[in-house]
């Protein structure tokens, strides 16, 4: 072992320790930012170690610098320019590229062996290659589909929502398995069918998933990309990749579980369709609304002005309308008027856990004002006004009251316990679950129809007209 290799080994060990500390630190607010930088440093160290030990020559440097400059530059640009509301899509995009990278590495290694050297890699390496190709391809196309669906670029064709999709996916999975086995036993002809079928499988598995379940899928795909990295580690024989990939894979699974628990959904029902996957046309809890009270922004502003304790429940509608800054202004006026304003954050509000926290942080809402569901729920009976902004399923009392409802058992925010509830909503359409929301018919609920930003601007104007903020 040369001294450069020894040096690399030492750097790798240090990098693993720093990566583990980084992931751990990311789970505490105080240390999160430093932990993220620590993990980035660890990655840079690992790269430096590899370059020192491998000692690339002139031409190789050009290829390295070229790929690194283009990829890194575009990554930095994307990270800077993307709006905070599009965070779930962005993570999905990055994730897909990581998967694609693992796929390409595995392809490169097998092509190098068979085409150039004319040798067949040993069985264990071939299995790793097959695995890496399948997981990499599924991660890549799955992530791209997830991004497309969240951006609204893709909609699910009808047959993909029907039972036929299971048949389609089973056939695809069989083809993947067959092609993988053939590749492993040494038929290089089955390589491209393997890549193609695994890519289609990623699409087939992700496309039917409903918008509300997408965060779970992104988290799961994030876990997959870790697995793909670990598989690539087996392919090129690098322990650092195996450790880092395994850590991300396992941590991603835990996060996925946390999210599923928050939505009262099992992973199987998310992936293979369940109550929430289809609009409930025949299910219980659907139906027309009969007893809806709507009110004007002026009325809402008056009630807010006279309140002592106000709780805001943000949802995806707030993110879509980009209304977080207007909301912050309304809250500032009220706070200066002596009203206590807090924010109730449901674990799965928005399209990703923590989505609302990021959104509100962008509008300078101090994070001490954000309350988690378990903490805020006992406080609703002492709350004067609840303002529901573009949230639906997470405030549906059916989840507690109606054992036949598909939502039954999902933890929800008990907003109807407050004195007055205002629901800002674009129309009477159902939430992502397609389930009727009993909250809208409660006696203490008033609806304000319109885009969250417009409604909030009107409320802001009314509050100013009442003399607040002067």
């Amino acid at each position: 072992m040369s001294s450069a290799e020894l040096f690399q080994g030492g750097l790798d060990l240090l990098a693993v320790a720093l990566l583990a500390l980084g992931i751990k630190g990311l789970s505490k607010i105080r240390s999160a930012r430093a932990a993220n930088q620590l993990a980035a440093t660890a990655m840079a160290m690992a790269v430096a170690g590899l370059l020192i030990s491998a000692q690339p020559t002139g031409v190789t440097w050009v290829w390295i610098a070229g790929g690194a400059a283009v990829g890194g530059g575009l990554g930095a640009l994307t990270a800077r320019l993307v709006p905070m509301t599009a965070m779930p899509e962005t993570v999905a995009l990055f994730n897909g590229c990581g998967g694609l990278s693992s796929l390409l590495v595995a392809l490169g290694v097998i092509l190098a062996a068979t085409r150039r050297d004319g040798v067949t890699p040993n069985l264990l390496v071939l299995i790793s290659i097959g695995f890496s190709i399948v997981v990499g391809a599924v991660t890549c196309t799955g992530s791209v589909v997830a991004m497309g669906k969240l951006q609204g670029w893709l909609s699910t064709p009808g047959w993909m929502m029907s039972r036929w999709r299971h048949g389609f996916n089973i056939v695809l999975a069989t083809v993947v398995l067959l092609a993988a086995v053939l590749t492993v036993v040494g038929s290089s002809d089955s390589l491209w069918p393997l890549v193609l079928s695994a890519s289609l499988l990623g699409i087939g598995l992700t496309l039917p998933v409903g918008g509300a379940d997408m965060p779970v899928v992104i988290s799961l795909l994030n876990s997959y990309s870790g697995v793909a990295a670990a598989a690539a580690g087996f392919v090129v024989g690098q322990r650092l990749l195996i450790v880092a990939g395994a850590m991300v894979g396992a941590a991603g699974l835990i996060l996925t579980q946390v999210m599923c628990a928050g939505m009262n959904r099992s992973l199987t029902s998310v992936l293979f369709g369940g109550a929430l996957g289809l609009p409930s046309t025949d299910g219980k809890g659907s139906g027309e609304y009969t007893n809806i009270t709507s009110c004007s922004a002026e009325e809402c502003a008056l009630t807010l002005e006279g309140a002592e304790r106000v709780v805001v429940v943000p949802g995806y509608g707030l993110a879509v309308a980009q209304a977080q800054h207007t909301l912050r202004e309304v809250a500032r006026l009220l706070e200066n008027h002596g009203v206590t304003v807090t924010y109730a954050i449901h674990p799965v509000a928005g399209r990703m856990p923590g989505h609302m926290n990021v959104l509100l942080a962008e509008a300078d809402v101090p994070y001490e004002h954000l309350k988690e569901m378990d903490i805020i729920n006992p406080e609703f009976p002492g709350t004067d006004v609840v303002l529901v902004l573009g949230a639906n399923d997470v405030v549906n009392p059916q989840a507690k009251t109606d054992p036949d409802s598909p939502l039954y058992g999902m933890p929800v925010l008990n907003v109807q316990a407050a004195r007055t509830v205002f629901v800002v909503k674009r129309g009477m359409s159902a939430g992502y679950s397609g389930i009727k929301n009993d909250l809208f018919e409660c006696d203490n609920t008033s609806m304000l129809f319109g885009d969250a930003k417009q409604v909030l601007s009107t409320i802001l104007g009314e509050l100013k007209a009442l003399g607040l903020g002067q």
């Binding site: 583990a20 980084g22 990311l26 789970s27 999160a32 930012r33 930088q37 980035a40 990655m43 790269v47 690339p56 031409v59 190789t60 290829w63 390295i64 070229g66 790929g67 690194a68 283009v70 990829g71 990554g75 930095a76 994307t78 990270a79 965070m87 962005t90 990055f94 994730n95 590229c97 990581g98 990278s101 693992s102 590495v105 490169g108 092509l111 085409r115 150039r116 994030n222 990309s225 870790g226 793909a228 990295a229 580690g233 090129v236 322990r239 650092l240 195996i242 450790v243 880092a244 990939g245 395994a246 991300v248 894979g249 941590a251 990703m352 856990p353 942080a361 101090p366 994070y367 001490e368």
Partner: protein
């Protein structure tokens, strides 16, 4: 080869167990940054891409394949870490401002 593979399996097992332990209790505020940060780490495949390039020799196919793979991995890594940092900066500035206001 078998010995090396066995050792790799040990590494996989211990790494997975470590990953399960690392994320015990995370406040929901940090779910998105954590996912994004972990996602950036999964871009560690850039090391595999680098290895592919350094072992490619003269083959233009392998060199370009490795280079493209490196590009995608670095897109993931650089973008992932920067976007995570951007999110976390917001939490910090929020705290500072609220502290100053009190």
């Amino acid at each position: 080869m078998m010995e090396g593979f066995q050792e790799q399996l040990w590494v996989l097992l211990l790494g997975s167990l470590l990953g399960l332990e690392l994320i015990g209790k995370v406040p929901p505020t940090l779910h998105t940054p954590l996912m994004s940060g972990a996602n950036a780490i999964s871009g560690i495949t850039m090391l595999a891409a680098l290895t592919l390039i350094t072992r490619a020799g003269e083959s233009p196919l392998l060199l370009s394949l490795g280079s493209v793979s490196l590009g995608f991995a670095l897109f993931n890594v650089v973008g992932g870490f920067l976007v995570t940092d951007r999110m976390l900066t917001m939490f910090r500035s929020g705290r500072k401002r609220s502290g100053g206001g009190q």
